[in-house]
């Protein structure tokens, strides 16, 4: 027997323990996506592989896919075979986080000699060989090294063979090794904090607490679902794709306190690496649903268990092996927008207009800081504008659904021989409406030295901008070009010639509501700040006289 108050305190503590795990990872990490952007997730699982708690820090694609990934470790490593100091790893896109760059690492936590739980983390490693992260691979084998479920450490001793193999295959071996060590340290930290909590509360396992967390969360989520009118809600959303546009067709069925998604009718898989393994399709779709219906319920196994997803085999949201999947986040990030198109019908006013997404140019060079020969790879994350809300403007330069921090320009330039010449808000990019969509950004990047650079484009919403809702207009589409003017492609590996700079204009978010209802003061303020030009304001808003 435990009082509910104790259990609530312990529940909060578990979330805090996971957050500590995440923070250790970020502080000890070597690669900018982890240490600056937080491209991670961290969580605690019970011995059945059910997620009990997760860190507040983390990105939705990782969190919700990790929630489904831990159970797959048990086939190779049954719970009773686990030893203190062990760590297990995989980067299987279909059984973990959707592409090879993301490793999921599980470390068992022991209280005395008894295993009490499993800490897991999913982390984006900058490079694991192959073509590197980008959409150009034609099958999974071109995309990098695959790590089946295997030992990363045995009873405290790192698996050197595996580590050497991974480093030998990486363009950034130091970042790869450093990040992996940070993940192991974070798991150890989580385990130590968990033991402290058990001691403090006089418990020796997580059984009662786990049951309480899952039952309470399940009931709260079910109650939230039951507030939606039952029925089937349909939406179709078009995005750019690679070789041809992609239709995301989704039917959302609300029935008996459950929500199921069916992607029947969605475009078939691409021959390029923009396909989305269904574990990741579910991860982002469920995130979009949860934000709307139950934002306050902590994420865990139970909150996800009432959602299900299916999609036709070998559609772009359910490609089978050995399809290429490296840049699966592009379409992954569009899924919440697609799902919200359904939810808006059930709960008008509770969703966002479509968002301008996040653009992630991967830049590669062969000359280091001091002009020496050195292969390097740099992954940056830059946010577009968020869609407008039914009561507020969209946030400027804030991505949705990805939740990753941008990398400070000074940190970029300290890590790679690059110069960011411009990074500012992009005028006239937020969609028009009663509430304006968030503004995107304009970013200009060049090499520090007189050298050529290679970059991999994985950019969406160039032909299909973020649409508005309830009478609001679309945000500005994105553009990719060289500073000298030459237009570049939105997808695929391209060259920035010596002396040239890459200019990207990241899309704005869609507007919400009838523009004629926009507050004149708000329009005037946008014009005086320069976020909206006088000309654009006059043409979009009849009530604005300048």
């Amino acid at each position: 027997m435990r009082s509910a108050i104790d259990l609530q305190i312990m529940w909060n503590r578990l979330i805090a323990v996971c957050e500590e795990q995440a923070q250790v990872m970020i502080r000890a990490a070597f690669s900018p996506p982890v240490r600056e952007s937080g491209d991670i997730s961290a969580g605690l699982f019970d011995l059945k592989g059910r997620m009990l708690a997760q860190a507040v820090t983390g990105t939705p694609g990782h969190i919700n896919s990790m929630a489904q990934a831990v159970v797959h470790f048990f086939e190779e490593f049954p719970v009773d075979s686990m030893r203190p100091g062990d760590a297990y790893v995989t980067n299987d896109p279909w059984l973990a986080s959707g592409h090879l760059n993301d490793v999921t690492i599980v470390t068992p936590a022991f209280y005395g000699d008894k295993i009490v739980g499993l800490f897991a983390a999913t982390v984006h490693l900058v490079d694991l060989g192959g073509r590197g992260m980008g959409p150009d691979g034609k099958d999974i084998f071109e995309e990098g090294v695959a790590i089946p479920h295997m030992h990363l450490a045995r009873e405290g001793v790192i698996n050197r063979d595996l580590m050497r193999l991974l480093c030998a295959n990486s363009r950034e071996p130091l970042q790869t090794e450093g990040d992996i060590l940070a993940i192991i340290a974070a798991g150890d930290e989580g385990a130590a904090r968990l033991v402290e909590m058990l001691e403090e509360f006089g418990e020796d396992n997580l059984d009662v607490l786990g049951k309480y967390i899952l039952e309470t969360s399940l009931a709260a989520t079910e109650e939230a679902i039951r507030k939606l009118p039952e029925g089937i809600y349909r939406n179709k959303m078009s995005i750019d794709g690679y070789e041809k546009p992609v239709d995301l067709v989704v039917a959302m069925e609300v029935r008996d306190g459950r929500i199921s998604l069916d992607f029947e009718g969605t475009t078939e898989k691409s021959e390029f690496g923009i396909n989305v393994p269904i574990i990741y399709t579910g991860a982002y779709s469920f995130y979009g649903i949860k934000c709307v219906i139950a934002p306050e319920v902590p994420s865990n196994h139970a909150t996800l268990s009432l959602f299900s997803v299916k999609a036709p085999k070998n559609s772009i949201v359910n490609p089978l092996r050995p399809a290429p999947v490296s840049a699966r986040h592009i379409i992954g990030h569009a899924l919440p927008d697609a799902v919200m198109g359904c939810l808006e019908q059930a709960l008008p006013g509770m969703t966002l207009a479509e968002s301008g997404m996040m653009w992630n140019p991967y830049i590669r060079g062969t000359i280091g800081f001091e002009g020496e020969d050195r292969y390097w790879e740099f992954f940056s994350l830059i946010a577009g504008g968020m869609g407008a809300r039914s009561t507020k403007d969209g946030l400027n330069a804030t991505a949705f659904p990805a939740a990753l921090k941008g990398i400070p320009v000074e940190a970029i330039e300290n890590t790679a021989p690059l110069v960011v010449w411009r990074k500012e808000l992009r005028p006239d990019s937020g969609g028009v409406g009663k509430y304006r969509g968030g503004a995107g950004q304009t970013v200009e990047i060049g090499a520090l030295h007189e050298t050529e650079l290679t970059f991999k484009a994985m950019f969406e919403r160039i032909d299909n901008p973020a649409k508005g809702r309830a009478g609001g207009s679309a945000g500005a589409p994105g553009t990719v070009r060289l500073a000298s003017g030459k237009k570049l492609n939105g997808k695929g590996q391209q060259v920035i010639p010596k002396g040239e700079r890459l200019v990207i204009e990241i899309p704005g978010g869609g507007g919400y509501g009838d523009p004629a209802e926009r507050d004149v003061e708000a329009i005037a303020q946008d014009v005086s700040s320069g976020l909206v030009s006088d000309e654009a304001a006059r043409s979009a808003y009849p009530q604005y006289q300048g």
């Binding site: 435990r2 009082s3 509910a4 108050i5 104790d6 259990l7 909060n12 805090a16 323990v17 500590e20 250790v24 970020i26 502080r27 000890a28 990490a29 070597f30 240490r35 600056e36 937080g38 939705p60 970042q175 090794e177 060590l181 340290a185 150890d188 403090e200 059984d207 009662v208 049951k211 934000c291 709307v292 934002p295 966002l352 994350l381 809300r389 009561t391 507020k392 946030l395 400027n396 330069a397 804030t398 991505a399 939740a403 990753l404 921090k405 941008g406 400070p408 320009v409 000074e410 330039e413 110069v419 010449w421 411009r422 990074k423 500012e424 808000l425 950004q441 200009e444 700040s529 320069g530």
Partner: protein, 713 residues
């Protein structure tokens, strides 16, 4: 307490003075006695309130300005102007292409699931973020020279816009301030009256968003703070003050007025820092190891965790959070700071009913002008103080020593109109709801802060001070599942007393990048010596020949990492071989934190810090009282208990009459000049040897705390 005397045998007189949102407090310690005084904060000219409070306390002690050996001052004026956006008209000059850096921020939604999230608004609007062409790169190398024509055009803009203060924020200026300094020279030549803050001086650390925000915030508060500080110093001298006036810093140390006026952002949390030092000294005096300090004034409440007498510290903090409890919803400030959570819940916080029909408190505050309705100074909205008065927790005739008679009828009428009529409650019930809600908010903030810090709270002692905390401490304590609280002597002026517990100290932080594999000892020695000399110069002015300690630290990381760990380094001269010792020190500390070293990676030092400090004044020692006794109330008053919603007869005690060893049965109110301590039904209190009140749950009450049982069926 031991009687302090200086070298010439004269009694040492030390004065602390703290400007809060509502009251200005003074605490004077002279020869083992303490005198305290309060004056209303005078927002238009805060020095008026300071002088009034000092004169009042000097009168009580029958000494003059010329007898003071030390005056320590702290203030939340800078914080308030940031929160209320009442700073100078400020512009920002920045690298072309980066005018939106302070608006773009970290591009992060700090709440992953809240679709209706808002982000903090920059202190400088886009119109006054003025780009100039220039560019430094990594290591401070020049990629593009400063375009002085652009600077001239920007200066013209400053002139026509009548800008009062400007922050100069260029990329990579943590490595070289050469362009920022040149811009300052050009501005000063053209517009000598404009205040200029350089990001390379205010917070010379990598990561442009945090550095720019800190410099902009410094610029925003600087003109008002500088003119206030110099004016105050002048007025104190005119009145005969011969000793130094020292300013309390956010990190818990002290500095002189000139330094404070140049970097007023370092004062932002000085009042609360004094409070945390006060709580730490109370814990030490009364023999408690782990405590929580709970400081509630007129405008805000602050909560700080103190382990083994040391308040938690941090190198960044957020000011003006728009979501009370959420990290990321405020503006980041990079300064050494005592780590605490602050919420908009003080005696002056205004109660209202929100759109969902719930009682909500703050963050709007009536402050001291107009103040609560009961002050009869023009306040028209009910505050937490009004609620306490309606509940009869406060004696209308005894507030602030009887100098401010309170109008209870006015409080009741307003409470009824604003809260009661909307919810169908009478004035007492409405007031009880307000008191419950404010206590719930504070308990929630404490819980979140403890969790974020990974700290246990229930076995700690809650130390309550500031005018509002003793009224609410019993409620907050119970909501947190804690069993004991302490209200120290001088609770109403805790921060001011805490200032007297601060060591005189100053920390200088500088960036100098060094790889341990090829460390340049000459360069490092020169830097450390210069840092040491500049910190010593500041500290010696105020240290009264006390011996000084020097603490040197280096922030280090493996090459390739983004976050540093801080390692103590020896104070002597560096030799080339020192690289090896530094590596060992780093690896040891790294293993303590992360359990494993990264083999084969080089180590780099990014920043060096030198702290020059006097010793922390030792805690006072008290002997146990000769005898315990039960204190009889001097009278009784009917108090409306918010927890039970019933009227109970409270015994009223006058605190100065209670001697160590006294036992007070609840329900009771212990009144004193500055505040009142509420001991509700089910609790009792004793007076400790130090004179502090220790409140405890009665044994039977501990057993009967009812909780819903969750059966593992």
């Amino acid at each position: 307490m031991t009687e302090g005397k200086n070298a010439s045998g004269k009694r040492i007189a030390r004065l602390g003075v703290d400007i809060g949102g509502t009251f200005t407090d003074a605490a004077l310690e002279v020869g083992g006695s303490r005198y305290t005084a309060k004056a209303l904060t005078t927002h238009q000219a805060p020095d008026d309130g300071v002088i009034e409070a000092i004169e009042s306390v000097l009168r009580d002690a029958a000494i003059g300005f010329e007898d003071l050996d030390l005056v320590v001052h702290g203030t939340t004026l800078a914080t308030n102007s940031l929160i209320e956006r009442k700073g100078a008209k400020t512009a920002m000059i920045t690298t072309a292409g980066f005018r939106d850096t302070i608006e773009i921020g970290v591009e992060y939604r700090f709440d992953l699931f809240d679709l209706f999230l808002e982000l903090p608004k920059p202190l400088v609007d886009r119109e006054l973020r003025l780009p100039v062409r220039e560019r430094l790169g990594v290591g401070g190398r020049t990629l593009q020279p400063l375009n002085e024509e652009d600077v001239a055009a920007v200066i013209e803009r400053l002139r026509t816009e009548k800008v009062e203060s400007v922050a100069v924020c260029f990329l990579h200026s943590y490595a070289s301030g050469v362009h920022e300094k040149r811009v300052r020279d050009l501005i000063k030549a053209a517009l000598p009256d404009i205040s200029v803050s350089l990001s390379s001086e205010v917070a010379p650390e990598m990561r442009e968003y945090e550095r720019f925000c800190t410099a902009v915030a410094n610029a925003y508060v600087q003109p008002k703070m500088a003119s206030y500080l110099f004016r105050l110093e002048q007025r104190l001298k005119e009145r005969g003050l011969r000793s130094s006036l020292l300013m309390m810093l956010s990190g818990g140390g002290l500095t002189d007025v000139a330094t404070a006026a140049a970097f007023p952002i370092r004062l932002v949390e000085s009042g609360p820092a004094g409070g945390a030092l006060f709580a730490a000294s109370v814990a030490a005096e009364n023999g408690f190891d782990d405590v929580i300090s709970f400081d509630m004034g007129g405008t805000t409440a602050k909560i700080c965790l103190i382990d083994d007498g040391r308040p938690q510290t941090s190198r960044t903090f957020e000011v003006a959070r728009i979501y009370r409890f959420k990290k990321g919803s405020g503006t980041p400030i990079k300064i050494p700071v005592i780590d605490m959570v602050e919420i908009g819940a003080g005696g002056g916080s205004i109660a209202h009913v929100d759109s969902l029909g719930r009682v909500a408190i703050g963050p709007q505050s009536a402050g001291s002008e107009p103040g609560p309705v009961a002050f009869s100074r023009g306040g028209t909205e009910p505050t937490v103080t009004d609620a306490n008065l309606i509940l009869s927790r406060i004696n209308p005739a005894g507030f602030a020593g009887g100098r401010f008679p309170l109008d209870k009828d006015a409080s009741s009428t307003t409470m009824l109109r604003t809260v009661g009529e909307k919810l169908g409650l009478d004035a007492s019930y409405s007031a009880a709801a307000v008191a419950e809600m404010v206590e719930e908010n504070m308990a929630a903030a404490a819980r979140v802060h403890a969790i974020e810090s990974g700290k246990e709270i229930r076995n700690r002692v809650l130390i309550a001070f500031g005018g509002g905390a003793p009224l609410h401490v019993a409620g907050v304590m119970q909501k947190l599942g804690m069993k004991r609280f302490v209200v120290p002597r001088g609770a109403g002026v805790g921060s001011a007393v805490g200032f007297l517990r601060a060591p005189v100290s100053y920390e200088v932080v500088r960036s100098l990048h060094q790889k341990l594999s090829r460390i340049n000892a000459t360069e490092v020695n020169a830097l450390l010596q210069e840092m040491s000399a500049s910190a010593r110069a500041i500290v010696e002015k105020a240290a009264n020949d006390e011996p000084l300690q020097e603490i040197r630290m280096a922030s280090m990381r493996y090459v390739g990492q983004g976050h540093e760990i801080t390692v103590s380094i020896p104070s002597g001269r560096f030799t080339e071989a020192e690289g090896l010792n530094l590596r060992k020190a780093f690896e040891t500390r790294y293993r303590e934190i992360y359990r494993r070293n990264v083999s084969g990676a080089d180590i780099e030092v990014l920043t060096w810090s030198v702290l020059i400090t006097t010793a922390v004044p030792p805690a006072a020692q008290y002997t146990a009282p000769s005898g315990d006794y039960v204190a009889e109330p001097s009278s009784y008053r009917e108090v409306f208990e918010s927890k039970t919603a019933k009227i109970a007869s409270y015994g009223i005690h006058w605190r100065p009459d209670l001697k160590p060893g006294a036992r007070i049965e609840g329900p009771a109110v212990i009144e004193e000049e500055e505040t009142s301590t509420v001991i509700p039904t089910g609790m009792s209190a004793t007076i400790l040897p130090s004179g502090a009140i220790l409140g405890e749950l009665n044994q039977s009450e501990k057993a009967s705390v009812r909780v819903k049982e969750y059966a593992d069926a």
